[in-house]
Symmetry: C2
Amino acid sequence: MGPTVTSRVLRLLEVFAPDRPRLTLSQLSRRAGLPLTTTHRLVGELAAWGALERDDEGRYRIGLRLWEVAALAPRGLGLREHAMPYLEDLYEATRQNVQLAVLDGTEALYLERLSARGAVGVISRVGGRLPLHATGVGLALLAYAEPEVQERVLAGPLPRFTPYTVTNPRDLRRKLAEVRRAGVAISDRLLELTALSVAAPVFGAAEEPVAALSIVVPAGEPPGPYIPAVRAAARGVSRALGSPRARAWPPSALRNLGTPAP
Amino acid sequence: MGPTVTSRVLRLLEVFAPDRPRLTLSQLSRRAGLPLTTTHRLVGELAAWGALERDDEGRYRIGLRLWEVAALAPRGLGLREHAMPYLEDLYEATRQNVQLAVLDGTEALYLERLSARGAVGVISRVGGRLPLHATGVGLALLAYAEPEVQERVLAGPLPRFTPYTVTNPRDLRRKLAEVRRAGVAISDRLLELTALSVAAPVFGAAEEPVAALSIVVPAGEPPGPYIPAVRAAARGVSRALGSPRARAWPPSALRNLGTPAP
DNA sequence: GTGACTCTTCCGCTCAGCGGAAGCCATGAT
DNA sequence: ATCATGGCTTCCGCTGAGCGGAAGAGTCAC
């Protein structure tokens, strides 16, 4: 974090957060810890390019040009693009919440969320993060993550959200083993007392876990009926990504009889 | 732009494009017009922060951290968030393509697209741009855009995509007046011979046009039945954004549902 | 008015950034 | 085995881009 220009520019971008998406020059200056003059110059250049925009009141916000470039992130919208049809199917079939998330660091980063108007409320947000140990997608991601990541999560603090949150490393380890055995993760009120989620991992072309998808339903509903649908959707996305694991594990051997193999 | 560090950093980001989302260091260097050494240093810093990532082969791609920050763009995902439920409704009712776009410069920037698997193919892409004069959302945006933007588009070249594309400024002016009168824009094979789209503008809290949404159906289908649905969805989003225009019911004069001849 | 706040422009000092050079490590051809 | 090519990385001394204090303009509230 030297005093390089690049780091300052990035620090200015960092300052924006979900709860403060619009900032004045002075706010930017203070929050980024940069002199006002310096901020003024850098922000001016960012705005000229389109990384930032000014609204009517003169406040700055993240610009569309930056959004456009960021839309090229393969692990962001790229993944989403492949997953969307399957998410839609899941959504249509259940009319609940459907989510897609990837592992970033030791958190789940949410790429997509489809929510019916009447569905149970969830606190996830597209572009937002939630902890791995207390969410369906988080457990699915963690169960198949590299050991190094697993250990970091198991070692770190496991904050409690509800009486059902798994906060004990040993319990969490057992839970992860269970996820690997079943191929799906069930988060029954681990994060919120009102919600239950069923999640499954998505694998990429190199058989690597790349994402997880889930559906969130009101707590109390039996998760059983949702499991095949979630699993099928995850397998569908994996196949779309070229995963050999998905090819070798056909959804229904009988149905494949009619279609010629590739 | 001057030889400032900021401009160089931005130029490096600019280099990424839909058809080349992964680039080697040398490619970045060449395409950005920067010395290899300079590129190496800057890219290193960007990657350390997470604006860029390196894949297994050492190539660089847009990073999730940048995507995460860009997700805070009020005119990007912010708008999308409000619009999504209405887009879903439209999608569900029609099982076709549903799109959301905003005006950026003199082009339409697509924020969202929901596509049924069997729906007619469309060339739009989330994060992509298309010209205003040849798309449904484009016409809807242009019809309500500031005069200055309209003039720039009318003056500029109006490339032809199909025999039906409006390439004459006078015809385009008439078409825009028609859109304002009807409250919806119909693009019958203006961009592709296979597709027809019905679009309507979305207004913000200050009665300003902020976006447009559309549905795309196979060419040949009568657009009439879709018009009320598209208009209702657009009004729904406008209301969600706090538009006073949407709260008051539309003037009865706008009941002219006559479909324009191709 | 006065004070507190914002944003913007100016300008001379200095250190961050620059980029040539050199070297490393792969491929692939001879 | 030798050379060539094309990638990537590290090193280091020169220099001008960036820095930020100072001054001033504009805006709101009391």
